[in-house]
Amino acid sequence: MVRIAITKGRIEKDVYKLFKKCGFDVTPIETKDRKLQVKTRDDFEFIFAKSNDVLTFIEHGMADLGVVGKDTLEENDFNNYNELLDLNVGKCYFALAAYPNYKTKIFNGRKKIATKYPNIAKKYFSDMKENVEIIKLEGSVELGPVIGMTDAIVDIVETGSTLKANGLEVIEKISNISTRLISNKVSLKYKSEEIYNIVDKLNKVIREES
């Protein structure tokens, strides 16, 4: 049995399609309704969790494989997993965004930055050798500049339409994000055949699509 922890929401839908294209049994996922755990004919057990919890389950070896966004991997301080494959879906990027006058404005003192990803923001500004004040918001980070609380935001950008609707624009792209297949390190030692069977089939589908 291989237990696979999937990030709920959009990632879950992308992964469902990929596994279906691989020829794996996905019927129990289609009919799962509110169940958090389903078993399939391929001897997989899928569990559905929030992104950071996928990592916690991998860390404790409670899941063998995990499907999670690169954004979560970069923000989380757990690092001891295998990142087997870039699934090439869920593509977006981290960016610094603000009102257009950000580029020319002269700031007195530290800039204030709103973000859901304080570690990413901290690393970005330390690479830029800039000292900023980071304010963590839990969602709709764009509100930071909109209500005048912060000078800019560090956030995930997909289409940029929320930014645009609020008069903000991308000042700089920070890094690319996509969905990744990860594994617990010990699981890979004991279930390498089962896991690489999944990896190979996924890899084939990804290559055909790109």
Partner: protein, 324 residues
């Protein structure tokens, strides 16, 4: 706070008083002690306090934030014991001779772990250091002790995995990008390796072929022999044949596997590295390796090899397997 509230209030860093599996812990300890003594290892009591600069001088990327520390009487920063290898190395340097030495240890190391993730800040370790027994004879002695104690541990389906820091360092040299290689190999990242090879067209075809396979190069002796047969680079061949020779001389071979993408978990590893896995532990239960250059930092050019056993992981595995 009222005194009675301390019945349930304990610091975040603490695990409280433990009564579970203490007897089993002592039994494992006794088993290990008996074996270490049989091989003439001298048990050491290692201090709890060290200058943090000692660690920082040895580990270039030492993560100071993970240590428990305070400012000592002399105004310098003191760290609670972060590992056993460095204090034992310091002890050896303080001796005037360069003789063979065998040390064992039992005790806790103190590292600040993430909160609310079910991790311990105090972890119980046991281990040995074998100093100035170079090359394969030293490797064999340590691996034999390891096999001997694993046999007596009541854990089944263990894997003893060998890797080579020399092989890894050669690849770093050939590609000229150690940082990237660590990033890719420590995560066995197939997609990133593909991108890396495509971006480095100047590498030789043989090397590209090896790199592309590398994230999946772990397995039994046939995997190693296959790569030896296909390799031409002199240092790569030498490092792999060293692994092969070590394997040849091990008495008990059935649980031995190899991982050529193993990255040095300690930057001072120079040749053989090894880890022991149990299907009942999400992390290795033993980790070790040869570190011939560590002692050079202290102006004593002697080779050394050591291993540490993570007793918390061993006890958890024993419990899950139903052996406790």
């Amino acid at each position: 706070m009222l005194l009675e509230e301390y019945k349930y209030l304990i610091p975040e860093e603490s695990n409280g008083v433990i009564t579970q599996n203490v007897k089993e812990l002592r039994n494992v300890e006794t088993l290990l002690r008996t074996i270490f003594e049989k091989y003439n290892y001298i048990e050491t009591l290692v201090p709890l306090f060290e200058y943090i600069d000692l660690y920082k001088n040895v580990y270039t990327n030492f993560d100071e934030e993970k240590t428990f520390k305070y400012i000592g009487k002399d105004g310098n920063v003191i760290a609670l014991r972060w590992d056993f290898t460095i204090p034992i190395a310091r002890h050896y340097f303080s001796q005037s001779t360069n003789q063979e030495a065998r040390y064992s240890y039992f005790g806790k190391v103190y590292r600040k772990e993430k909160v609310y993730k079910g991790r311990n800040n105090e972890s119980y370790q046991a281990g040995i250091e074998l100093i100035n027994v170079p090359g394969i004879p030293g490797n064999i002695e340590v691996l034999e002790i390891l096999q001997n104690l694993l046999k007596n541990l009541n854990l089944s389906n263990l894997k003893v995995e060998l890797g080579s820091a020399k092989f890894f360092n050669r690849l770093c040299k050939l590609t000229g990008n150690k940082q990237k290689l660590i990033e890719i190999l420590s995560k066995k990242n197939i997609s990133e390796m593909q991108k890396f090879v495509e971006a480095n067209n100047n590498l030789s075809e043989k090397l590209k072929y090896l790199l592309l396979k590398l994230p999946r190069l772990f397995g039994d002796i046939t995997m190693l022999d296959d790569i030896i047969a296909k390799s031409e680079d002199e240092i790569i061949l030498k490092s792999l044949k060293e692994l092969r020779n070590t394997y040849n001389k091990i008495n008990c071979k059935e649980n031995i596997v190899f991982d050529l993408s193993m990255c040095p978990s300690m930057e001072y590893y120079t040749c053989l590295m090894f880890k022991v896995y149990s299907p009942y532990s999400p992390e290795p239960i033993v980790s070790g390796g040869r570190y011939d250059s560590l002692y050079k930092n202290f102006k004593k050019d002697v080779p050394a090899i050591g291993m540490g056993l993570y007793l918390n992981n061993i006890l958890n595995a024993l419990e899950k397997e139903g052996s406790i």
